[in-house]
């Protein structure tokens, strides 16, 4: 300070001297808020004009080089410096700003007015007691980019407000209040951006011996933002308090007001050089999933199906992150519900807790009120799962399905970059076919469905089930093995299986499907069955009379239906007359096969004899009266065949015998 006084003395002397074109090198000027280095004053010929050049102007760790003030009307009288209609240039911050100032060097008080084009103005009043009050009008936020090292954010907008600095006995106090209007920012990749931002800002800070204690409230009242992958709109407000010390911003407590959530509380430690969130902990109380699900959860965790996911109920959550990596998450669901693809798969209401730790085992307990898979309603069940890092283990869960249950056992799943992998076992406890048929819209039938699938394996886009699914039905059984489900949740969802049916009672089968009446039994093999979205697209199927002795009769209507399925000419022409004479006919054997490829069924019948006219026997007659049914169409469009079958089943029209 002694040096400063000396320099000012020289300045004072020079001012009174009224010398011609005098240049003074004044060295360094210090203030608790700023430092000026290399201050040089050049006075004009008559002492009217002056140019102040500053080599370095610093506030905190931020500094600017080559600052100049050109004053056409400069006065230094009675220790008061005055500059009117001057021009200030701070490279990178102010270019050619109009400046008016007066500064009393005795008590370091004064006033500075800066005006920039576009009604941008700064007024700074320095009081003798050390207080500084800065009023901003239309202040361009872009200038803060230089000030706060945030140039890559391309900040925009105007600030209106007041900054008040007051020295205290042991430090200082700052209060900032104001509004941001028309604000925005964008990073080069567009993944963090905002437009039309309006903020109400109220901040206060007190500097002590070691740092700043601060608190404040910022309310977002206008505009929109995209913070990848979330789109956000005005409404939230945050209240926070903490400390700033040695380039570390500590948020001791923050409270966020957000639509759809009762409370969000957080604390964090943020490194400012470089800007990095070192630790973050937050809790969310009573989030309304119908609000936060589509806005925040789906875009963040399931962006590919955002428009297919539906949420209901509430969730509370707490999480901690260290260096950006989650270390603990706790979720508590309250009557929560989730559904995918218009309720194709849904679960809920779901209540319970799901704790997770990055480096410890935890146990999740959920009570699921029910669910739905396609047309099947699922009952209530309890799920207990052990969570361990990226892994989930479930010892046993029984999901009620109609009067039975799907039981999953020893399920061990782990997630990596490609998706879920794992293994386990599945059992289907008996489900009555009467209820299942009714649920999925099949004709009424009796029997039960069970499954024992000891080898369940999960890989990305794939679930395979070693074992057998068995349906006892129509006095026989139907068994599906080598079950594989691919891409279960996408458009390419498809299922493979080999199906064998043995000793199905044709009387019950044909009655169930209103197909006429046939007595006897059949075996069927459907190998390489592929269902795409539950519709068969490929198989090698063969149906043939079961071996053994049993009555074999076929009704007139069933014959007609079979012939209708086979298309014109399915019944040998010579026998058509016979068809009208009897209600039922004896038969020796029934056999039909279909190899489905590319929408076409290549058909064949009983394989030991070619029927007249290159036909194939579907029903070979036997007993009295006997009648053969012969197929002639060997390539039948599958969709057309299904249409015919549905028409036959639906039709109660009397038979027309030709």
């Amino acid at each position: 300070m002694a040096r400063l006084a000396f320099l000012l003395l020289i300045l004072a002397w020079s001012g009174f001297a009224g010398a011609r074109a005098l240049q003074l090198d004044l060295g360094r000027l210090t203030h608790p808020v700023f430092v000026i280095d290399g201050l040089r004053v050049r006075l004009g010929d008559e002492g009217e004009a002056a140019e102040l050049a500053i080599e370095r102007f610093a506030i905190g760790k931020r500094d600017w080089q080559n600052v100049t003030i050109r004053c056409p009307a400069f006065r230094f009288e009675r220790a008061v410096v005055r500059c009117r209609r001057g021009m200030l240039t701070v490279p990178g911050l102010f270019e050619r700003a109009t400046i008016d100032l007066h500064f009393d060097t005795r008590n370091k008080s004064g006033e500075l007015n800066l005006r920039m084009p576009g009604r941008e103005a700064i007024n700074i009043v320095m009081r003798p007691d050390g207080r500084i009050v800065a009023s901003l009008a239309g202040f361009a936020v872009a200038r803060l980019g230089e000030l706060l090292d945030l140039a890559s954010w391309n900040a925009a907008g105007r600030l209106v407000g007041r900054i008040e600095y007051s020295p205290t006995r042991d430090g200082a106090r700052i209060r900032v209040s104001g509004k941001l209007e028309g604000g925005g920012f964008t990073q080069a990749d567009g993944l963090r951006a905002a437009e039309g931002l309006g903020l109400d800002i109220d901040l206060g800070a007190r500097r002590g011996p070691t740092g700043w204690d601060w608190q404040g409230r910022v309310a977002w009242n206008a505009g929109e933002a995209y913070l990848h992958p979330l789109y956000l709109v005005a409404g939230p407000a945050v209240e926070a308090a903490g400390r700033l010390e040695a380039e570390v911003l500590t948020v001791a407590r923050a409270r966020l007001e957000l639509e759809g959530v009762r409370t969000i509380a957080a604390n964090a430690e943020i490194g400012l050089q470089p800007l990095v969130v070192r630790s973050l902990a937050f809790s969310v109380a009573d989030a309304d999933l119908a609000v936060v699900g589509p806005r925040y959860l789906a875009p963040a965790f399931a962006p590919a199906v955002t428009d297919q996911l539906r949420f209901s109920g509430h969730v509370s959550a707490a999480a901690t992150l260290e260096e950006g990596v989650p270390t603990a998450v706790d979720l508590a669901f309250d009557e929560a519900g989730f559904s995918l693809s218009n309720k194709e798969l849904s679960f809920g209401p779901l209540t319970g807790v799901m704790p997770w730790r990055a480096k410890a085992r935890t146990e999740a307990r959920l009570a699921v009120g029910g669910g739905r898979w396609q047309k099947l309603a699922l009952g209530a069940f309890e799920l207990v799962a052990r969570l361990d890092g990226q892994g989930v283990d479930v010892d046993h869960v029984a999901i009620p399905v109609l009067d039975g249950a799907l039981v999953l056992e020893r399920l061990a799943l782990a997630r990596d970059a490609a998706g879920w992998h794992g293994s386990g076992a599945a059992v289907v406890e008996p489900i009555s076919m009467a209820l299942l048929a009714e649920a999925v819209g099949l004709p009424a039938m009796s029997g039960v469905l069970t499954a024992s699938l000891p080898g369940l394996r999960v890989a990305p886009g794939e679930v395979s089930l070693d074992g057998a699914l068995v349906i006892s039905v129509f006095d026989g059984y139907l068994q599906a093995t080598r079950l594989q489900l691919f891409e279960p949740f996408g458009v390419a969802s498809h299922l493979y299986a080999d199906v064998q049916a043995r000793h199905l009672d044709l009387a019950q089968l044909t009655e169930a499907f209103s197909f006429g009446s046939v007595s006897g039994f059949v075996d069927a093999d459907v190998l390489g069955l592929e269902l795409a979205r539950w519709r068969p697209v490929r198989f090698d199927a063969r149906v043939i009379s079961s071996p053994g002795n049993y009555p074999r009769r076929i009704s007139q209507r069933a014959v007609q239906n079979i012939s209708a399925l086979g298309g014109p000419g399915a019944v040998a022409a010579l026998q058509r007359g016979l068809l009208g004479l009897f209600e039922t006919f004896g038969y020796r054997e029934i056999g039909i096969s279909c190899v489905l490829r590319d929408g076409v069924c290549r058909m064949d019948g009983l394989d030991d004899r070619i029927a007249p006219g290159d036909g194939y026997y579907i029903v070979r007659g036997g007993g009295i009266p006997a009648l053969n049914v012969i197929g002639y169409n060997r390539r039948v469009d599958w969709n057309e065949l299904i249409d015919r079958l549905q028409r036959v089943i639906a039709s109660n029209a009397p038979l027309v015998i030709q």
């Binding site: 951006a193 886009g461 390419a492």
Partner: protein, 152 residues
């Protein structure tokens, strides 16, 4: 959302004519190409469903390719590389499109490997497709080469 849909629909009125041909050529142009031992052109109902789904989505993705918002990545995926040209309210939808496209692409690569009877070929199928998507990209689209985005 409606505005975006309309904008995209309008944009696609012109763009579809141009790009429909492209996607057809791209998807069908693999005819005759083979992996080391397999057929990358193999067709199954699941593959057909995936191609149809991708083709439908292409109507929405094409303007994003053309504007450079979305680029063709070197790993066989698409990526939101510069969203700054997309209105803020539609960036989430653009990201959802990218995620859905990548889910279909992953399923397509798996399914082609499976249909060849060699699920373990998935990475090879993906690498082959990645090269082809980039080779057949329209001039002006952004592609990833040696880790950098370049305009074709």
């Amino acid at each position: 959302m409606n505005a975006m849909t309309n904008a995209m629909t309008n944009a696609m009125t012109n763009a579809m004519t141009k790009f429909r041909g492209w996607i057809a050529v791209l998807l069908l142009g693999f005819a005759g190409l083979v992996l080391a031992q397999g057929n990358i052109e193999i067709d199954t109902p699941a593959i057909a469903a995936l191609k149809q789904s991708m083709q439908q989505r292409h109507a929405k993705l094409a303007p994003l390719y053309a504007s450079g918002a979305v680029g063709l990545a070197a790993d066989g995926n698409v990526a939101l590389r510069d969203a700054s040209g997309v209105p803020l309210a539609q960036r989430g939808q653009a990201n959802a499109l990218v995620a859905a496209e990548n889910a279909d692409r992953a399923a397509l690569y798996r399914e082609i490997a499976r249909a060849n009877g060699h699920p373990e070929w998935e990475a090879d199928v993906r690498a082959t497709f990645a090269r082809r998507w980039i080779d057949r990209a329209q001039p002006g689209w952004w592609i990833q080469r040696d880790g950098n985005w370049v305009r074709k």
